[in-house]
C-alpha cells in the first residue's frame, strides 16, 4: 500500500482535515469531530477483527465505558482533562482484560456469545444504577479546560480547539496502530487470524496474544468513547447499547476489514448517511441492513478491499 498514489491521497485528506475549521461551517466541524472520534473506535475494532480474526459483537462495552469513566470522573472527582482521558483508557483496558480473559479461551461463535453477554450485562447495569449513569437520559458534562503547561485552552466553549485536540489524539493513535501492524506482534496477530492452530504449533501462546490484541482494542475504544463525549458534552447508555456494537461491525465490513482505513471510511459513510437520510426516511436502518447484506454476499472484502484488489490486478 505504500505507493506514491497512496501517500498523495493520504496527505491530501490530512490537509483537508487540518484546514477544515477555516472553511467549514460549525455544523460540519462538529459532525467531522464526531466522526474522527468514531474513526478511532473503528480502527480499534479492526485490530481484533481484521487483524486478529476475532469478531466481537459487544465492543460498545468499551466505547461506552470509556465515555462514562471520562464523564463521571469530571462530574464527581476532579477536573483535569488529561487525567480523565487517561482514566478512560486505563478503565477500559481493565474491563477489556477481564472480559478478554474469558472470551479468548473461546473460539468462533462462543467468543461472540461471550462478548454479547458481557455487553448486555453492563448495559443493564447502567439502567440499574440509573442514579449514577443517568440511564438513557444520560449525563451532560462540562469539559474542563485543556492545560498545556501554563496555557489553558477552553475546550467546552471552543469547538475549534476541541476539533484539533481530537484530530491530534486520533492521528497519534493511527500512527500507533500503523507501527503496531508493521511490528512483529502485528504479524503475529495476522498469523493467528490466518491459522491459530499452526501458530500454536510454532510455539506461540496464542491466548496471550489474542488477549493483548483485545485489551489494546478495548483501551483505545474507551478513549474514542471519551473523545466522543468530550465533543458532544454528553453521555448516555446508548453508547453501551448493542446497536453501537453493530455500528462498528457494519463500518468495518463495508469499509473493508484488515485495512485500518477501510473501517474509518465506513464510519464516515454511515455517519453522513445517518445524518442526511434519517431526516427524510425514518426507517433508514433497513437500508443499512440491506447494504450490509449486499456487501457480505457480494463484496465481503469491503469497499477498500475491492479497490485494493483492482489496483493489484491493474499492476499485473
Amino acid at each position: 500500500m505504500m505507493t506514491r498514489r497512496f501517500w498523495f491521497l493520504f496527505f491530501l485528506v490530512f490537509l483537508i482535515l487540518l484546514s477544515l475549521p477555516l472553511w467549514g461551517s460549525s455544523f460540519y466541524m462538529f459532525l467531522v469531530t464526531e466522526i474522527i472520534a468514531l474513526s478511532l473506535f473503528a480502527m480499534s475494532f479492526d485490530l481484533i477483527y481484521g487483524f486478529t480474526g476475532m469478531l466481537s459483537l459487544g465492543h460498545a462495552t468499551f466505547f461506552g465505558t470509556g465515555s462514562y469513566i471520562f464523564t463521571l470522573s469530571i462530574l464527581h472527582w476532579q477536573s483535569n482533562l488529561w487525567v480523565s482521558l487517561l482514566l478512560a483508557i486505563i478503565g477500559s483496558a481493565i474491563i477489556a482484560w477481564v472480559i478478554g480473559f474469558f472470551a479468548v479461551r473461546a473460539r468462533g461463535t462462543n467468543f461472540i456469545v461471550i462478548t454479547i453477554i458481557f455487553s448486555l450485562v453492563i448495559f443493564y447495569l447502567s439502567f440499574y444504577y440509573k442514579s449514577i449513569t443517568g440511564g438513557d437520559d444520560g449525563l451532560p458534562l462540562k469539559v474542563p479546560d485543556l492545560g498545556l503547561g501554563f496555557l489553558s485552552i477552553s475546550i467546552h466553549d471552543n469547538p475549534m480547539a476541541n476539533y484539533y485536540l481530537v484530530l491530534a489524539i486520533v492521528s497519534l493513535c493511527y500512527l500507533f496502530y500503523w507501527r503496531l501492524i508493521a511490528s512483529p506482534m502485528g504479524r503475529l496477530f495476522l498469523a493467528i487470524k490466518s491459522n491459530e492452530e499452526r501458530t500454536q504449533y510454532i510455539g506461540f501462546n496464542t491466548l496471550k496474544y489474542r488477549l493483548i490484541s483485545f485489551v489494546i482494542s478495548g483501551a483505545f475504544s474507551g478513549l474514542s468513547g471519551a473523545l466522543y463525549s468530550m465533543t458532544t458534552h454528553y453521555t448516555n447508555n446508548k453508547l453501551l447499547h448493542w446497536t453501537t456494537s453493530v455500528d462498528v461491525v457494519v463500518w468495518t465490513i463495508v469499509g473493508g476489514a484488515g485495512t485500518l482505513i477501510g473501517p474509518i471510511m465506513g464510519a464516515w459513510i454511515f455517519t453522513f448517511f445517518r445524518e442526511f437520510i434519517s431526516f427524510h426516511f425514518k426507517q433508514y436502518p433497513i437500508v443499512i441492513g440491506m447494504v450490509l447484506i449486499f456487501f457480505i454476499i457480494f463484496v465481503p472484502q469491503g469497499i477498500l478491499g475491492y479497490l485494493l484488489g483492482l489496483i493489484r490486478r491493474e499492476r499485473k
Partner: protein, 246 residues
C-alpha cells in the same frame, strides 16, 4: 537414556471404550530418520498428537531431551524444539511464502514486541532467506501460499517447521496426495534434511519409508509390534501378518 531425544513410557490414550494407543514404549535417537508405519487405525497419528501436546494422555509419560513434557500444551512443547507437520496441509494460506517462513523464524525470539519494524529485523530476514533457499522456494517467495502447488505447499509446511530451529521434525504423511514422482523427490529432500536434523515420519508409502528410514517402528491396534531396520521389517513375519492378514 540420555541419547534418546524423544521417549515415551507406557504411553496410553483411551477414548470411549477404544484404546487408541496402548502402553507404548518408544525411543527416538538423535540424528536418525525414524519411521512409524502400520495399518489403518493403528494409532500412529494419535501418537503424534499425544507427543506434540495436541491430545492429553490417559496414562504414561513423555520425555523430550530428558525433560518430562507429558502434560504440557502444544505451544510449550514446540518451544522446546519439537516441530510437526500435518497430514492435511496446515499453513498460513493468505500469507506469502516468505511471510509463512518468517513467522516460524520469529518463534525463536524471546520477545515479540509492538515497536520495531518487522521487515527490518535483520537476523529474521536472513534466517527466512536461508530456509527458503534450502527448500528451493526463494523464487516463489512473494507467492501467496494459497496459490502454490500441492507439492510446494507440503514443502512450505516443512519449511515453517524448520524455521523454528527444532531439535526434531515430526512429519505426518508428507507425501499424502502426491504422485509417485513427486513422492520420490520429496523423499530425497527429507533424506537430505535428515543429515542435519532428527526426523520422525509417519508414512504409508513403502517405497518412501524403506528407501530413506534408518529405523522403522510398526504400530498395530495401538501397540508397537516390531522395530528394526527396513530389511528386518520387510522380512518380519509378524509384520506381514498384520498387513496381509495371513
Amino acid at each position: 537414556m540420555s541419547e534418546y531425544l524423544l521417549e515415551t513410557r507406557l504411553l496410553t490414550k483411551r477414548f470411549k471404550g477404544v484404546v487408541a494407543v496402548d502402553r507404548v514404549d518408544f525411543h527416538l535417537m538423535k540424528g536418525k530418520l525414524h519411521a512409524i508405519i502400520g495399518p489403518n487405525g493403528a494409532g500412529k497419528t494419535t501418537f503424534f498428537n499425544l507427543v506434540t501436546g495436541g491430545l492429553s494422555s490417559t496414562e504414561g509419560r513423555i520425555f523430550f531431551q530428558n525433560e518430562e513434557i507429558t502434560h504440557l500444551p502444544s505451544h510449550e512443547i514446540s518451544k522446546r524444539g519439537v516441530a510437526r507437520t500435518f497430514q492435511i496441509t496446515s499453513i498460513f494460506r493468505d500469507l506469502t511464502v516468505k511471510g509463512n517462513i518468517w513467522i516460524g523464524a520469529l518463534s525463536c525470539k524471546r520477545f515479540v514486541g509492538p515497536f520495531s519494524e518487522a521487515s527490518r529485523i535483520l537476523d529474521l530476514q536472513s534466517k527466512t532467506e536461508e530456509i527458503m533457499g534450502l527448500l528451493n522456494l526463494q523464487d516463489k517467495q512473494s507467492v501467496v501460499a494459497e496459490n502454490l502447488s500441492h507439492g510446494d505447499q507440503r514443502l512450505l509446511e516443512i519449511g515453517i517447521g524448520l524455521s523454528t530451529e527444532p531439535h526434531v521434525l515430526l512429519l505426518d504423511e508428507p507425501t499424502a496426495g502426491m504422485s509417485a514422482e513427486e513422492s520420490t523427490r520429496t523423499a530425497e529432500r527429507i533424506k537430505k534434511l535428515s543429515e542435519k536434523i532428527t526426523i520422525l515420519i509417519i508414512e504409508h508409502d513403502m517405497d518412501v519409508v524403506m528407501g530413506i528410514a534408518d529405523l522403522i517402528t510398526v504400530f498395530d491396534q495401538g501397540r508397537v509390534i516390531a522395530e528394526g531396520s527396513p530389511t528386518e521389517i520387510q522380512e518380519n513375519p509378524a509384520v506381514q501378518e498384520v498387513y496381509l492378514g495371513t
